[in-house]
Amino acid sequence: MSDQQTPNTVTFTLDGQEVTVPKGTTILRAAESIGIKIPHYCFHPGLSSPAMCRLCLVEVEGWPRMAPSCKETAQDGMVVFTNSELAQKQRTGVLEFYLVNHPLDCPICDQSGECDLQDYVFEEGREHGRGREPKRVLGRDDFGGDVLFNGDRCVMCTRCVRFMREVAEDERLCVVERGNRAVIDTFFEEGLEGSPYAGNIIDICPVGALISKDFLHKARAWDLDRTPSVCPSCSQGCNITLQVRDDLVQRLKPRENLEVNGWWMCDFGRHNYEWMNRTDRTEVPMVRGQEVGWADALGDLLQALKDAKESVKAVTWAHAPNEEMGLLSGLLAELGGGEVVYRSPRTEGEVPLPGFPLLARREDLAPNVNGAEIFGFRRVGDNNSQGGLDELAGHDGVLIVVGDPIEDYGEDFGSKAELYVYLGSYQSKTASNAHFVLPITTFAEQEGTYTNVQGRVQRFWPGVRSPASARPGWLILGALVAELTGTEAPVSADQAFAKIAEKTSEFGGITYRDLGPRGAVAGKPAGVSGD
């Protein structure tokens, strides 16, 4: 309206507020940008908007009908009411229609607690239904893969159909029948079996129609503690949420990051979490078979390292966070240099998500291969992360193992070593010769960063309590380095990262503050991704 208005923005009134948004923004997105939530089902930011759920209708002054806010773009001078009497009444009415066939089996529905229908009906639905007709009963259908379909609960938003069509570009779902009888179905018996990204339709289903077989009945949504993290299953580094109950990871869910994974993650990563709940953990520091306290263990270790004359060799794995790797490399530098090797599993061929080209299941099946390369570690072993350590197994100098349980070697691993230090989370027979066994936390139990395939450094947070007295690897290594160099030991992951970033030019001086929740590519400021 005003003269200062640039041609690429529009200004309109939303619930009495002046809003200026880029041209082409839908009313729903504009409302979200100022914190007004408009209920919706069929709209998903990663999918097209068919405007078929009729829940996001808003009142526009002067318009003969209500407008679907997910589809209607904002125009100059529009006056929009999302919460007027009419809009509310319309939503209440639509919700009543949804409940004509929805079974309201919330007590036995896995979506209960994170269900949009539950929330909307609770907020704006009618207190009592008026339906007298019997509800449609479809039973449930195994869609293949991890997906279980419960047709009764479906609200026909078609997000799943659109995901398979537009994002996975593997059209395996469609709506069959029409009107009251409409239902989602697969083609023939093929189902979703073998579709590597089908698990995402469970996440985007706003109700409990599509549920995970793996998670079925495992936990209630409100029992789960959610911790932002990074998927450790490949070097893509999808942003995820660890969903934890009773210190056991129950499921992984993707976390929005438009620079990395959008709203999606692959089924491989989604289901690769059982190892996080392994119980064969190292729990207390052991020095030559004796349980000791941390102070004694570290003191002895420091002395042993100072006394050691021979050359140092170290092995780690690509699951180790940047902080561990960086400080390990720093430790070796202080001990007169030496080679660090790492191992990482690898498969042939990437599995891309066609509708979101940034995302693919990468060939390296470990999160921090890029980090290991940055620190100049040498990759050994085969594609199954086996072998390649023969030289180290018989090494007669100082041998340091960080993280890698080396389960493919025998008990004589490191038997000739002058000093064998094993920093690991898991009990392993190869640690039996170790002079020092120091328990370290897994990635799910500590704070740290991974460098993904794009060179993006991404933070993860602790979601599970560590067993007994395990400590993060960077805390142990940082203390040793600090003692050897006479500097201050890092007491937080933040400080540990700062310590390695100042020595590693690839990180370009970024700090935890720059990383934020969605990470940053080394040397660039944090990308502002969507909303």
């Binding site: 919330c106 007590p107 449930r140 079925l216 209630r220 029992d223």
Partner: protein, 166 residues
């Protein structure tokens, strides 16, 4: 005769006769001594009637075929203020959600009745029941079978004729 508290005021301004007071006391106790109406309830033979709103140890309702009515929705462990309910849900071979493990620690329980109030399928109930003695402490963690075996009446939680308990 229900026991009542009789409040005796001290006489003011006059000197009390101790002798008379003593004799009055003796007379009072004598009156009660020979009074045939005793308030003792001879427990195993006679029982006090407990109110239908009484909240005692729990009971799980069952379907006609003996399955528990519980669908393992998880609301009772969620609402339980003393965290005494342990629930692990699962699915039986007919696809019904049911509790694989349902345990109530009756020692931790504070008998607030919120589990009954919150239950969407009217499965778990607090009972109108007070005879809970056991020989060992671990018998007070009631498992699902035990809860289903209980056959005492269930609590009304509120008086239908006086829902606000006024």
């Amino acid at each position: 005769m229900p026991p009542t508290v009789k409040v005796m005021r001290r006489p003011e301004g006059v000197r009390t006769s101790f002798l008379r007071a003593t004799l009055k006391g003796m007379a009072l106790t004598f009156k009660h001594m020979v009074n045939p109406n005793k308030i003792t309830v001879q427990y195993p033979e006679e029982r006090m009637e407990i109110t239908p709103r009484w909240r005692g140890t729990h009971r799980m309702e069952t379907h006609a075929d003996g399955r528990p009515k519980c669908v393992a929705c998880g609301l009772c462990p969620t609402v339980c203020p003393s965290n005494c309910i342990r629930l692990v849900g699962g699915e039986d071979d007919q696809g019904n959600r049911y509790p694989i493990v349902y345990e109530i620690d009756e020692f931790r329980c504070i008998f607030c009745g919120m589990c009954q109030e919150v239950c969407p399928v009217e499965a778990i109930h607090v009972g109108v029941h007070y005879e809970n003695a056991e020989y060992t402490r671990d018998r007070f963690v009631y498992d699902l079978d035990r809860l289903m075996e209980q056959d005492h009446p269930t609590s009304l939680l509120w008086d239908p004729s006086d829902p606000k308990s006024e």
